[in-house]
Structures are given as structure tokens and as C-alpha cells.
Amino acid sequence: MLLQQMINGFTLGSAYALTAIGYTMVFGILELVNFSHGAVYMFGAFICLILITTFKINFLMAFLLSLVITGILGMLVDKICLYPLRMKNAPKVTSLISTIGVSIFLQNLVMLLWGSETKNFPMVFNLGTLNIKGFKLSYFQLVIMGTCIVLMIGLTLIIQRTKLGKAMRATAQNMEAAKLMGIHVDQVISFTFFLGAALAAVAGIMIGMYYQTVDPMMGFMTGLKAFAAAVLGGIGVLPGAVIGGLLIGVLETLAAGYIHAGYRDAIAFAILIGVLLVRPVGLLGKPVQKKV
């Protein structure tokens, strides 16, 4: 029972982690909480569903295509709603409100285009379940966790090894100095939004398939929890987002299983508050130090 719940929790937590990465990367560079991210996650799931059902594209193509489309959506969110504010040196809270606006806009756009009712996400492939002594593990759960691990390794390699990844870190650590190095920071920011949105789309699609439903509001709670995961791990720190995501996923599943399903959402935020009271910078966050 415990192991079963843990596996379910890791599955859910993987999706939170992927979504949390988008929050943490954008925050790392712009010191901005991008509240449109939950809606972007939902949009990714919808696009994939529409490509499969309406356009009859095979799953793998639809999956990749929705990553690209959602990634571009992420870039557009920045270019249309945030970049102009940055150019005007608007206060951060203005940008924050702008992202909330984007979130409401996207939810309503999806309702307008495809209706507000919950949609069935078709079982694209039935992989069956593994049964070991009464403990059930569906192969699809393994696919979700595996995909997350591969993507996180890939992302780490991009950020640590590639020129663009290093430019991302430089931009996050000191934007003005990055410009002086010849880094086009606007392109770096665009790329960051692309990457974050594409990862959120992966999470959205996986969760859509896992629960076999998608609805226009699905990004709201997941978005909040992924944000909580990013803060829990230490916002701006990439491994923190992953650990925070997994932790919230596991703990909320355990709470639902052992206490009451109704406490599922409450527990995630209770943990967040508890950790932040003890460690305000989050689990892996480091207090900022400046040398004079």
C-alpha cells in the first residue's frame, strides 16, 4: 500500500517537477512569477488532444508538434505581454498581473474554441500493468517517470554544457554583464520561455493521458502546485524544482491515501508554508551573498 502510493505520488510529482522547472527558469532570469504557466500546461494537453482527435495525427507526431506549438505560445506570451513592459521598466508587479491576465485569456480561448466541458483523452496505447504481489504498477506510470528523468538529464546537459545554456545561466546571474559579453539576452529569454512551456506541455499531455481527461481549468491547481514546488525547492534553483515537485506529488498522494482524499490540495500548501517558515529560501535555495 505504501509503495503503491509512493509510485502514484512519483508519477504525479514528475509532472509537477516538469511544470515547476518553467516557473523556476523564468524566475531565475526575470525575477518574475509567470502565472500564465498553468494555463500553458493546459493548452499543451489540449493541443495534443485536438491534433489526435480532430486532425487524426498519430500520437508521436502530435506529441512533438504540441511541444513546438506550446513552446512558441510560451515565447509569444513573453513577446506580447511581458517584453513591452520590460522595455518600459514597468514594476515587476505589473508583469505579474499581466501573466494572470494571460492565464484567464488562455482558459477562455480554449473554452471558446473547444468548449468548456471535460474532454476524454483517448487511451493512445494500452501498455497494461505490472502486478507484483498485489502491488500494481502500470507501464504508463513508468513511461511518465522515465520521460521526466530523460528530459531532466537533457535539460541539465543543455544548461551546463551548451553555449546557449551557459548564456542562460549568465543572463540569470547578471543580465547587464551578459549584454556586455555580446549575449542577446532577449533571445535567451525567448528560448527560456520556449523551453519552460514545452516542458509544461509534456507534463500536461502525460497527466491528460494518465487521468484520461482534460479540461480548460486543469492548469489552475496544477499550476499553483508546481509554483509551490518551485518555491519549496528554492525558486531559481533547477534541482530544487525537481525535488519540490516530487516531494509535493508524493506527500499529497500519501495524504490522500492515509488521511482523506479531501486533504489532497491542502496538504501541498501546508507543507509549503511549514518549510518556508523554517527555511525561507526553500530547500535548496541559498541566501544571496554580495561581495563589495
Binding site: 545561466r169 547587464e176 555580446g182 561581495k291
Partner: protein, 234 residues
């Protein structure tokens, strides 16, 4: 090489530069001195493209650069080592230097640049895998200068390279600045330590509240009574 004519620049509504005109010739060391708020750093930022001049022109080797972005200006061969060093603290020394070479495409020649930097600053070689944030102030300054050199600039601008350093280290840094200049890089230098700056510079401009009030050979200014009184503390 670099000619500023009547450059005006603003931070929001506050005018920081009120018609700066100056010229830097190839192979020179030129220094800007002046009290806090005179517009020295703003002048460098405007040349580097971090700030757009409102009016006036900035020409680099005959090309107007006043409307170009910072990355474009780096590519043309102007590099700024900013005030307060501004190294990337959670990147290694090596990665910081790599970032300095970001705009370069000549991968083959890049090794030569690394060697040149390591020859100038052996300390950086010893610490190349260490995070820049853990370096001492002097080492960070070396890294900031080294990083600025990685773009192979024709003109290197240094903003307060001796700020916060121990006197002995200040000597070393100035020695290195002279060496970099002798290797063929033109230098534009801002310094609190006006005496040191005047000693290594060929020419000097004195700024006061966004205007140039004096321009002369560095040697003359070292002996000028007015400058001694105002900036050399005698």
C-alpha cells in the same frame, strides 16, 4: 578610433551627460577622472551600448555606433569591464572567460586567447574550475579584465579596476593594464585613484556634472595645481 561628439544621455528624466565630446586614438591609454556623479560610468555605459545617447554621435573607426545594441558593439571590438567586476558568481572561472568570447566564431584561435589571459593572470589558471563568486576581490577583478579581453577588443574600457583592492594589488593591476596596452589594445580607463591613472595614461579628460571641463596630456595634469587640489588631494 573612437570619437564622441556632443553626446547627451539620460537616466529617465535625469540628464547624466550634457554634451560630452572626446576622442581616443589607436594604442592610447586615455583616462576619465572626476568626482562621483560626474558621468564617468555613464559615459562608458553609453559607449558600450547599455545606454542610448539621446543626441550626439559616437563613431568607432568611422562607423556610427550610437544606435547599436551592446552585443553588436562587442562584436565591433569594444569591450567593457564594468564597475564592481560583475563576474558571473555561480559559473567557473573558465566559464566566465568563455562567456567573454561569446561573440567570437573563430574557435581555433580561441585557445590562443585563453593562453594569453592565463599568461597575464596566472592566478586565473590555478583557479579555472572554481566558482567565480568564491574568488577574492583582486582575483575577481583579474577575471573581469580577462573576460573583457576574451572578445579580442580593439578598445578595452575599464571602470574602476582598482576599487576595493589592497594597495599592492592595485600596483599589479596597473602594471597589467600597461602591459595589455603595450600588446596593442587601446584603453579607456576610469579611476578613483586619479594619481595612478594619470601615471599610466597618455591623455586625460576631467569631467564635472556631465561635462568635460578639461582635456590635456596626463603628464601636464599631474603637475597642474587645479587638478592636484581637486583630484589628487594635495
Amino acid at each position: 578610433m573612437l570619437v564622441l561628439s556632443n553626446v547627451h544621455a539620460f537616466y529617465g528624466n535625469i540628464q547624466a551627460l550634457k554634451g560630452i565630446s572626446l576622442e581616443i586614438k589607436e594604442k592610447e591609454i586615455v583616462t576619465l577622472i572626476g568626482s562621483n556623479g560626474a558621468g564617468k560610468t555613464t559615459t562608458l555605459k553609453t559607449i558600450a551600448g547599455l545606454l542610448r545617447p539621446k543626441t550626439g554621435s559616437i563613431q568607432f573607426n568611422g562607423e556610427e555606433i550610437g544606435n547599436k545594441s551592446a552585443p553588436e558593439i562587442v562584436k565591433l571590438g569594444i569591450s567593457l569591464s564594468p564597475e564592481g567586476r560583475q563576474v558571473f558568481p555561480r559559473m567557473t572561472v573558465l566559464e566566465n572567460l568563455e562567456m567573454g568570447a561569446f561573440s567570437r566564431k573563430d574557435k581555433a584561435e580561441m585557445n590562443g586567447s585563453f593562453e594569453r589571459i592565463y599568461a597575464l593572470f596566472p592566478r586565473l589558471y590555478e583557479r579555472k574550475h572554481q566558482a567565480a563568486g568564491t574568488l577574492s576581490g583582486g582575483e575577481q577583478q583579474m577575471l573581469a579584465i580577462g573576460r573583457a579581453l576574451m572578445s579580442k577588443p580593439k578598445l578595452l574600457m575599464l571602470d574602476e579596476p582598482s576599487l576595493g583592492l589592497a594597495p599592492l594589488l592595485v600596483e599589479t593591476i596597473f602594471q597589467l593594464i600597461r602591459e595589455i596596452n603595450e600588446q596593442g589594445t587601446t584603453i579607456l580607463l576610469i579611476e578613483q585613484n586619479a594619481r595612478m591613472a594619470l601615471m599610466i595614461a597618455h591623455r586625460c579628460y576631467v569631467l564635472e556634472t556631465g561635462k568635460i571641463v578639461l582635456a590635456d596630456d596626463a603628464k601636464h595634469l599631474l603637475e597642474s595645481d587645479a587638478v592636484k587640489k581637486a583630484y589628487l588631494g594635495e
